[in-house]
Point group: C2
Chain length 272, copies 2
Amino acid sequence: MVVFVQLCRVNGGNCSRPKGTNFGAPATCRKQEEFYGRKLILADREEVEQEADNILKDADISDVAFLVVGDPFGATTHSDLILRATKLGISYRVIHNASIMNAVGCCGLQLYKFGETVSIVFWTDTWRPESFFDKVKKNRQNGMHTLCLLDIKVKEQSLENLIKGRKIYEPPRYMSVNQAAQQLLEIVQNQRTRGEEPAVTEETLCVGLARVGAEDQKIAAGTLQQMCTVDLGGPLHSLVITGGSVHPLEMEMLSLFSIPEASSESRSIDGL
Amino acid sequence: MVVFVQLCRVNGGNCSRPKGTNFGAPATCRKQEEFYGRKLILADREEVEQEADNILKDADISDVAFLVVGDPFGATTHSDLILRATKLGISYRVIHNASIMNAVGCCGLQLYKFGETVSIVFWTDTWRPESFFDKVKKNRQNGMHTLCLLDIKVKEQSLENLIKGRKIYEPPRYMSVNQAAQQLLEIVQNQRTRGEEPAVTEETLCVGLARVGAEDQKIAAGTLQQMCTVDLGGPLHSLVITGGSVHPLEMEMLSLFSIPEASSESRSIDGL
């Protein structure tokens, strides 16, 4: 059996860089290979999107497994893989999995009260998108919470290496709740400058989540302002912007993770 | 270790009646007991909601496992359990799982385009709630799909047995996509009678899903009218009402499951 492992956040999973991964190509995941007792082929987003046929090669005569983080259907990329397989007459079986899309419920906010999920990307000097903020606004107007998936940059090339065609990659970057909150506050300021009434303010109740599902998972509930400084440790992080109304039971759950006064430290979920 | 198994749909999971379950109390799940090699205590919704302290009894000195279908945080009941455990100083660990809330993506509709989830309950002669329909309307206005969780009735007593205090239970009932679609069409008719413009019509594109995640999973895409007659087989069923706009890639995925002309038969997901 040929086993591909996808490395990226397209599926809304609690994706993390496989330990021992070498970001030069061909890359392998040693820890996972030991676990599965098989050779694994690391497929970055680029490969999955541009070389899908390579993944499906020989899948009609032998088994091919494609492992992702989270649930496979968080990503259009995977629907595309299924459509290609179908056209090639290759049957498939999907094994579903937990995803940040539902595991986020561990913070105490009810899943059925989440509106459309948004993604917050790293801003650059020239590219500072604010469009996702409209979805947050719409969600809040409908009393729904917003799950914000935070950007992951892996296998990035510097402009110089890109131009010179050097396959040298920058170290991976994972957006933290602090960075996301700071970008959000900048958008709030920009809206005020434009004379608009921002749907979110420094005082909006938010929840920062880190390494959901892992033993050292951390959750912190506080204002958007507090999210700028709360220390949640390493990646992967997610941020929730609560809707207008928070149910008393939700509030009681959030209180388990509330940021202590005069502190930017959050409580661990099992620090009870 | 004491192991409780919850039997109900409160968690939005693809819940099904454990084989070998005896609905008289105390009930056991033989198949699961063989699998886990432990005695299991079947906890119905009533017990979980009313006797939570019984579940947490001795959890401070020994391990107690509480198994649910789907992800634990689909249900306020489980947040309540965690709050009780916290107050009792009992630490806990949550193992997340796939849930119909994200596994529904297997039909090809994108998860981030789902709005608020609704529940459709069995109507009685005297109780025919239509309120959930407003949420479907709001979702469609926002271009979002609606996942409808269909009612499950287990451990029900007939009025006579209830009055006479007899612990005799009716056979379990699981709402089918057909039943849900028929109730929806009745609501549409009621709205027309009241001179309202229904947010959904006989022609609205819907998706019926059955036994998601199981090998004999079935998915059927068609109009709400077709959902009244499509044969998806045994429980558990879920229904999706699509939002106004369906992305071309979503449409291509749905076409894999489209109901053949002049037939109420759906294609199996692996009937390629």
